[in-house]
């Protein structure tokens, strides 16, 4: 990750005094300079401290994604009109680029969720497990439905073999979440080759904590 330079002055810049988790006293987090800035805590996966980024960068990126969809629709409409007349359309929006932008935001969110979850479990382990598990379970159900609808449409319009293959990834809403995780998240949150490992690792961790919660609270609806 790049480190953005800021004019921020931190109270504690002694990063050498920080210890790896598990060694002696717990690591001391640097204080935020202003209330609305976020300091990225040091974790086993990140050695960068004091970088103010995630929420603000992500907010900007999400706004870009939001503006991009109406533009994409307009582009598609123009392209189809031209193609239906047998002509080549003017230069268009790069579809894979839009897909990559979504992937970037989703990976950042998954990492933020993991970090936030780890911070919460120190104070409220079962509450954090319940909240994250419930959220991700509902989320995966949503993906199962969205993917199912998309796959059916492809099945109807394009190729029966491929459509069935895609539909085969959906084992029913109830089982989809677990299936998705066991298959490395292919049906939901499938990302570029380099990113899959990161997403899958995080999802496995979250699923593992959900399983632990369910074992301890078997009558819970979460």
């Amino acid at each position: 990750m790049k480190i953005k330079k800021t004019n921020m002055v931190r109270k504690d810049e002694n990063v050498e005094g920080r210890q790896e988790p598990g060694e002696g006293t717990p690591p001391v987090e640097p204080e935020a300079v202003t209330p609305d800035e976020v300091i990225q805590p040091m974790s086993a996966t990140s050695k960068e401290v004091g970088r103010v980024v995630w929420p603000k960068e992500r907010a900007g990126e999400i706004r870009t994604l939001e503006k991009g969809i109406p533009d994409l629709k307009a582009d598609q409409k123009k392209a189809l009109a031209t193609l239906e007349q047998g002509q080549l359309p003017a230069p268009m929006i790069n579809h894979p680029e839009i897909g990559e932008r979504f992937k970037k935001v989703q990976i950042a969110q998954l990492k933020a969720m993991e970090e936030a979850f780890k911070a919460r479990t120190k104070a409220d382990e079962m509450g954090a497990i319940r909240d994250v598990s419930e959220f991700n379970r509902e989320r995966l159900k949503g993906y199962a439905e969205a993917v199912g609808n998309g796959s059916k449409s492809i099945l109807t319009g394009v190729g029966e073999g491929v459509g069935k293959g895609a539909l085969g990834t959906i084992k029913g809403v109830g089982g989809a979440a677990l299936w998705v995780l066991r298959k490395g998240g292919k049906a939901a949150l499938v990302l570029s080759k380099d990113a899959v490992l990161t997403v899958r690792d995080i999802l496995y961790d979250l699923w593992g904590t959900h399983k632990k919660f369910r074992e301890q609270y078997p009558n819970s609806e979460a």
Binding site: L83, N94, H95, I98, Q106, Q109, M113, V158, V162, G165
Partner: protein
């Protein structure tokens, strides 16, 4: 660029956005449509555009919902 080639490429690009399809799925699909006529391909592209925007709209909502959840999960990160 040849218009047939253009449509093939455009279909391939849209399929890449549908990240729930594996590369094997995409390859099979491209093989299935390899010998279709131009008009048939444009019809397929029209359907795929719809699938693409519906999927992206879903992902946008999911992204926003996740952002709200992250704020609640750890208010210190807001």
């Amino acid at each position: 660029m040849d218009k047939l080639l253009f449509v093939h490429r455009e279909i391939k690009h849209v399929l890449e956005v549908l990240d729930y399809l594996t590369s094997d799925d995409r390859r099979k699909l491209m093989a299935v449509i390899a010998n279709l006529t131009y008009d048939e391909l444009v019809k397929i592209l029209k359907r795929l555009y719809k699938v693409e925007t519906e999927y992206l709209e879903f992902k946008l909502k999911d992204t926003k919902d996740t952002e709200e959840f992250l704020k609640k999960l750890n208010p210190a990160h807001e």
